[in-house]
Chain length 348, copies 2
DNA sequence: CTGAAAGCGCTAACAC
DNA sequence: GTGTTAGCGCTTTCAG
């Protein structure tokens, strides 16, 4: 026999205040058409009972839940968490609750049930925060985007008819490599992220383009693919030393792999930055305390999450007001170069 | 004029299948009392339409939402994120959705509205994942825990009548210091976390107790308080060197601060582990790639989250079955010592 | 086996 | 100003 929830209903408040439920409804919705006297009486009952209207019942009748679905993956890594942090702060500030789903893998393509669950809970909009890996965005084509709720996609290649909020990874890669060139490095290797990741491909393409425009070498022999982990970085740098012995600098696709590069250099007695310049990507909080401190590219993932929330709420507003929503334009955030000692040669 | 949601209702399915809504209800709830014929007809309509029952309406009538409220703070740090990762995986596996709230600060004590929001959305249970900082758990005394939903608290000092799932920080501290003693270090300093954090106090108490039991020094002059950040670690180690010049090892309350210790040692030409043994806490993924690799205490935060979910669902089960729930017993997870080079002197 | 009626907690539309 | 009626989408008696 289920213990009946002790939740107070509008009915109980109404009868305690000696009014109809409708009047209580008016009070809690701050409608003007209630006499001051009644309003006060009702309010004091509400206070006394600690009554809180059921958001569920409201959602049902209003056809609007003030809830956003957030789909993410890899929360055990710091990147997705920072994004979620930005999302949570912004949603709270704008009066929305968050329904969170984490995919067990990045490359899961069976996401239909996830959407179904979210929709069955009447979310007003969805933020798709799973990074673009392999074919894991193919489901988009199967999605009936017109009839469903607004969706904002995070950090992805722009696509027709889709709202995307991204950090410009290509620009970040350019900043990194251009900086190394300015510092006088000329034989710049690359440790890439896993190339089924869109972001890894962008960073690598930037490395290649920037070097080639400068008339320098950027071929397969100058790069090795890692998988973001420090462990893979350790293997990658070993291989890169073998493949490209003349290398005088390396652009590493994230800070964790860059850390391994520094460890390897330390063990081999290679001096950073004199003999090897190093630039990472992400600006994790530790990287300022590596030895030497790591030059890196900062991406503001908190802002990414915040903007995603703002955008999806804007879209919900359009949908709800019945106005014709403008064609979705992509939002792109620029990363920043953070110069530290690992890439700045002391003057001779 | 709000665009009507394109959601399909049970009514539409019923009329398309030529049956009543209850019959559809029976089919989607897998009730036995439907003829095979009818069942098939209904199912094919459901398939065809892609119908998904409204979880909202169900929650309302069943008085059960299969939703858990999760309250967290500091998602931009890796610890809370790992816990959330564990929570999300377990909840998904057990058929529960997650309503996420992140507090803007750790020490916010005005949490009543948070609970109100969660309850207004009919969560079946709550996982309180905010670390215990200063007086930020005082609200518990004001909470009417009998009449509300089950709550599980994470990583806190055990309290009467409350379900807590914690990692034994005290034991972790003991493991760290005992290991240093075994390695022959005798003048062991401590860089503490911020002492308004319960976890920081536990780690420090363990350091103190273990040393004093061994007849060694562990006073105010042998410790400095940091704030978990690498930056604070850098300051702390400087001060500790001044305060305690004879120090031959240091137990640092987290890995990020330990990183700064290593950087400082490197700059000063102090050899780790020969001249200074270092043990951290957390086992962040980078710490195996510090130079030298960092000995640390691993806490399985993923498991913490997972167990919290299991416990809260168990409590929901009791409440729902009407059985007398057993008095809540605390669950405590043991951390593990991970030995790496930073604390192991090579034999002379 | 199937359907009609009632109601979860709330609000929109209308009466008075 | 305030109450009544209807209904959001679903499930639960209880008839038939």
């Amino acid at each position: 026999m289920p213990r009946r929830s002790s939740r107070l209903t509008i009915k109980q408040v109404a009868s305690a205040a000696g009014v109809s439920t409708q009047t209580v409804s008016r009070v809690i919705n701050a409608r003007p058409d209630v006499s001051l006297d009644t309003r006060k009486r009702v309010q004091s009952v509400i206070e006394e009972f600690g009554y809180q209207p059921s958001a569920l019942a409201r959602s049902l009748i209003r056809q609007r839940s003030y809830t956003l679905g957030v789909v993410t993956a890899g929360l055990k890594y710091i990147g997705p968490s920072r994004v979620l942090n930005g999302i949570a702060g912004a949603a709270e500030g704008m009066g929305y609750s968050l329904l969170l789903k984490e995919l067990p893998q990045f490359d899961s393509n069976d996401v239909y049930p996830i959407f179904q669950t979210l929709l069955s809970r009447h979310v007003d909009g969805v933020i798709w925060g799973v990074p673009e890996v392999g074919p894991n965005r193919d489901f988009i084509d199967r999605l009936n985007l017109d009839s469903e709720v607004p969706v904002v996609f995070l950090t992805m290649a722009p696509r027709e008819h889709l709202k995307a909020v991204s950090i410009d990874n290509y620009e970040g890669g350019r900043l990194a490599v251009a900086h190394l060139l300015e510092q006088g490095y000329r034989r710049i290797g690359h440790i890439a992220g896993p190339l089924d990741w869109w972001e890894a491909r962008q960073r690598m393409a930037a490395w290649q383009d920037t070097l080639r425009e400068a008339g320098l070498q950027a071929g397969a022999e100058n790069t090795v693919e890692g998988n973001w982990s420090s462990a893979s970085g350790a293997e990658a740098i070993e291989q890169l030393f073998r493949q490209y012995p003349a290398m005088d600098a390396v652009f590493v696709a994230n800070d964790q792999m860059a850390l391994s590069v520094m460890q390897a250099a330390c063990q081999k007695g290679i001096n950073i930055p004199q003999e090897l310049g190093v630039v990472g990507f992400d600006n994790i909080s530790e990287s300022a305390y590596f030895w030497p401190p790591l030059t890196t590219i900062e991406q503001d993932q908190h802002a990414l999450g915040k903007i995603a929330v703002e955008e999806v709420i804007r879209m919900i507003g359009f949908q709800w007001s019945g106005a014709v929503a403008p064609a979705p334009t992509p939002v792109t955030l620029s990363p920043t170069l953070i110069v530290r000692q690992s890439s700045v040669r002391r003057s001779p």
